[in-house]
Every structure is written in C-alpha cells, then in structure tokens.
Subunit: 348 residues, 2 copies
C-alpha cells in the first residue's frame, strides 16, 4: 500500500473507531458521571496541532452539553514561565495522540501539582502523558501509520463529546447519536471520495486559502486548514466566519479560495453572511458540512445531518480530509509522506 | 496624504498614544487596584480581529503580571447558543476599537447579566460597547483613519499591560517600563522603515507565509499575520513555534517564507528550535523582535529590548506593521485602502 492509500484507509476507519469507543470506552462515561457529581470550576485543555483542534471542539462541547466553561489553556505560562495559576477545583485535560509531546506532559504535571484533576486523552495508555495523569482516557484508535492524524482526531472528538455529555446528563442519548453518526460517515465516505476529485483538479493551483466556520465547526475549520497546510503546502488560514467578514475578506479575490464548514446550527446566519461577502469578492467557494447546500457556493460537499448538532464536526471533517488528500495528489505531492513531518513530535 | 501615508503616520503615532495613556489613563490604574482587592475567578476577554490579538496578549500579561488565568472566551456560546456559563466572580473584558461590533456588545451584556464585572476597552467611550459596560477604559488613541488598525492595537496592549500590572501590584514599575518602551519605539521606527524595504522587495512574490512566536510574542505573530493577510493578500498562517515544529514545518520550502517574532524570554529555546527546523526546510526566514539577532536567519529586524520582557510585543509589532506596508507597495497594492475592508464592522 502506498502512503496515500494508508492515509485513505485510516480516514475510512474513523466510523469504526467511534463504534469501538462506544463499545469499550466505559472509562469516559465513568469520569463524566464523576464530574457531574462535583462540577469543576473550569475545564482546562492543552495540546498541539490536530489535538489542539480537538480541544477547540471541547470548548463548544462542554458549553453545549454541560453548560461549563472550557478553555484552551496556555502551555507556556506554567511550563516555561513557571507560573501556576490556581488550578484547584479545575479539570485539566492533556491531549496527545502519542502521549509523548514534552510540554503537554509538563503542563499536565504542573496542573496536577496545582490541584487540578489531571486527565490524559491519548492513543498510548503506556505513554508519559498517561503516566502523568490521574485518569487516562485511551483513544483506542489502533496504530495510526500516516503522519497526518485523522482517525485519532475523530476519536478525540468522540471522547470529548461523550465526556461532556455524561457530565451534563445526556450521555446515553449522545452515545446513540454517535452510533448513528458513525453509520452516516460509513455511507458518506465513498461518495465524498469521488465528489472531492473535480474540486481538487480545479483548484490544483491554490497556494493560499481561508477555511472558516463558527461554533463547533470552528474546530473543523482549524483542522481542515492544518491538513491543507501540512499535506498541500498551502498557506491555509483558519478563522471564524465573523473574523473573516471583519477584515480579511478584503484580501480575497479569484486567486484566494475559501472553504466554509457549514452546519445548520445557531452560527448559520453568521456563516451565510460571511459566505455572501466572500462571493462578492470573487473568491472560489467550497462549502462542506450538513448545511453545505444552504449557502450559495461553487461546490457544495454535503454530509448527512447528525442526530445532534453538536456532533456535526465528526462528519464535516470528512470532506476536508479527503479534499486535502486529493489536492495533494493533484499538486503532485505525496500525501502519505509529507516532507520532514515526524509522527511523534519532541519539539518544545 | 495618500492612504499609505496616513497608515504610516498612524504607525508613527503609537509611542505618543502610549504616553497619552500613561498621562491620562487613571481609570486603568483604579480598576487594577480594585481587582487586586477582590481578585476575579478568571478574566474573560472577547473580541475580533486585531482586538482579539490584543486579547491574546492579555492571556500572557495577566499570567505574568498578576498570576491570574485569563481566557479568550467563546462569543458564540452566550450570544448564539444562549448558554451562559456561570460568570459570577469573573471579570469580562470586551474589546472593540469602534465599540460597535454587535456580537462583542452582546457578549458583554450576557456576561454582565451573568454576574461578571463588565469592562469595555474601546476607542469610543460613546459606543454601544461602552454603554454595556460597568467600567470603560478608553484607548485615547485619537481617530484612526486607516482601515488597518495599528495605533489602537498598541493602545490596547498598553491598557491591558497596565491593568494586569496594577492588579498584580507592579503598576508604577510597568508604567515606567511603558514610558521607556515608547521612547525606544520612537527611536526605532525611522530605522525600521528603511530596514524593511529590501526584505519587501526580495519577498514581493510571496503568496503564503507562516508567522510564529510563543508566549506574549504569539500575540505579535497573530497580529503580523493578520496585517499581512489584509494588506498584502497573503495566506499568512499564525502558529506558535511549537505548533510549527510539530507539523506544518513539513509544508515549508523556498517558496513559503517564515516570519519569527523573537524575544529573549523563556520561549526563546522553543523559537530557536523551530527556526532551526524552518532553516533546514529551506524557507526564507525573517526574525523580528528584541532577540532577532539571536537566531540564524536571512533578515534580522531588531528592536530595542524593553525594560520588562512582558512589554516586548509593543516593540516587536513595529517591524511587522512596517513590513506589511512595504510588502503591499512592493506588490503594487494600496495599503491605505485594502479592497472591500470596512472600518467599523457590523458583521455577525
């Protein structure tokens, strides 16, 4: 199997990874119920790269499912500056697929020392991050051979959605929603693989893009932008729909395509407004997500609507992952082996 | 005066704006002392665009100067979803130069209704944002005629640094540091205006860039990336030094320049490591900031070291602002009138 084939296979495994977490991830429900009994002051999350995009999702998942404030915490403040803001009563969740990113481990250790309940979300329960935690939530995604993370991202979203749901009292309902979402993803992936091809061929020239979304779909926007940058050597800028309309829309023209992540949720009016301004600027427009057909764009890559809106990022990310693979190939790049990218980062 | 000349004049006014705040901004010290007497649970900030980059700075300023957790809060959660996480005991700071950005106003109203102390940081004390606040901290920056925000950004940094310093007990010392920083900026600007010209000529072809920094300089990285996107039609991706080394370094080559914001603080080793990996990838490298000379790059744009490290973003942003103007001109664009950009956004 070529590197690209391995990556496509892992994208295809995502629904099964979610189902495996539903079958085997009892520890997530247990921790959620424990938090429900003694709600934290705030939920702190720390991560880099794709895991940090999952943390972005958690901000919205904890708000919508539990009514709690979750934040993407600064790592450098405790780890480099040695400043530990009071963390007693907080939950601290460190996310790392490998569990070996040094400063995420350092951050979790600092939070635990500061009195927070330390939780590791990792694909390797034998990792340093797991060792630093009081509670480990394994991703159970199996070995991820591709350098670009895909199935571990979906696993992180599923773990975080379940944790927030069990904390907020809707765990079983969200589990049902996740099961349905996995079925929808299974059905959607083959169609999307074909649907992204003509878009990638038309946009093979792209060197810069904006990827936008709002609410939970802002996590998708960040993740799609990261995949486009890593796999396609694109300067892909992620911004919320409102930030886009607030200024950078001025920079757009027919050479600066925009990818919009669109769900039929409370953010739809803001996304529709931003898309309208992008269209006026003449930029090529792609919409992806359950409400892709509700905005006027050149290419709409629709995915099924999940039973619960908060789960839409599990589906909306699929066209983005598949498009990044197709665009890399259209550019003559190997999406299975991005230049110089290492699977386990030891970067500070 | 051409639009570009107005923008350059406003960049040059920044030191005087900081001095004016030191002379007239007694309300900032008063609020800082009030917070010191009854420390908040967390400091929440909300903004878009350049103001959001100032909010990024505040995360580090409150940590370093007061030991407090400050967060860039979700706007969509309270405003679009109607979910108000408990805000009693929090300080909520809404930032908007015009004070008219609707969802920042909506966020501040929601936070006030939820029990937070509501603070407006705005250049217009007669604005809707000011009306929604219990305490108004005016930027006193004078009319900003250019669409691209520069002097209001410096004013926001100065207000936030002073607020954190008075909250943490080092107000007068930080005021002295700000006064010295303003003098340094006055001296540096004319030299930097010349120094950025050859870099802009050499990089006139750039369509994508990465802008990196860590700690307080991550705010600078975000702001420089935004200026490059808005003024130069560049796909400029801001990321922390560690996020860059963690993945997207794979995408870099001789066609993908990197701008590094470098201060001699605790983040310097991480920035130096990322710069080393960027150099290996063959990307054109520019370093800007007080420690620009401490990394090995093609172009080092040094600024004086401020008396307090936490103030370095007030100086590091200057070469970025001036480079964006020079690069826009080198590309044949008018930095004084970016296409389609409106000064006061009413975007959702």
């Amino acid at each position: 199997m070529s590197g690209a084939d391995v990556l496509l296979a892992e994208i295809g495994e995502q629904p099964e990874v979610v189902r495996r977490l539903l079958r085997e991830g009892a520890e997530v429900a247990a921790l959620g119920r424990r938090l429900a009994a003694a709600p934290p002051r705030i939920v702190r999350l720390a991560a880099h790269g794709t895991s940090d995009n999952a943390a972005t999702y958690a901000v919205y998942a904890f708000a919508r499912l539990a009514g709690w404030t979750a934040i993407r915490d600064s790592i450098s403040v405790p780890v480099y500056d040695g400043i530990l803001p009071g963390a007693r009563g907080d939950v601290a969740i460190g996310l790392s697929q490998s569990g070996e990113t040094p400063d995420v481990v350092g951050w979790l250790e600092a939070m635990r020392a500061g009195g927070a309940l330390a939780v590791a979300v990792t694909n390797d329960p034998g990792s340093a991050l797991a060792a630093a935690a009081e509670v480990v939530l394994p991703l159970r995604a199996g070995e991820e051979r591709s350098v670009a993370a895909t199935k571990t991202y979906s696993a992180q979203l599923a773990v975080l959605a379940r944790l927030a749901a069990y904390a907020g009292g809707s765990g079983p309902a969200v589990d049902e929603g996740l099961a349905a979402t996995a079925e929808f993803a299974d059905a959607a992936i083959p169609e999307l693989r074909s649907a992204v091809e003509p878009v990638a061929r038309e946009l093979a020239w792209a060197g810069r893009m904006v990827v936008t979304g709002r609410g939970p779909e802002y996590a998708t926007a960040r993740e799609v932008a990261l995949k486009l940058t890593e796999l396609c050597q694109i300067g892909a800028v992620a911004m919320t729909a409102t930030d886009l309309a607030h200024g950078p829309v001025a920079a757009l023209d027919e050479h600066f395509p925009v990818w919009a992540c669109v769900a039929a949720d409370s953010a739809l009016p803001a996304v529709r407004e931003a898309v309208g301004r992008v269209r006026e600027a003449g930029a090529p427009l792609i919409a992806a997500g359950p409400a892709a057909a509700e905005v006027q764009v050149a290419w709409a890559l629709s995915v099924p609507a999940p039973p619960r809106l908060v789960l839409s990022p599990l589906l909306s990310v699929l066209p983005g992952q598949l498009f990044a693979v197709a665009l890399a190939r259209a550019k003559g790049l190997d999406p299975g082996a991005p230049r110089g990218l290492r699977k386990v980062t030891h970067a500070r």
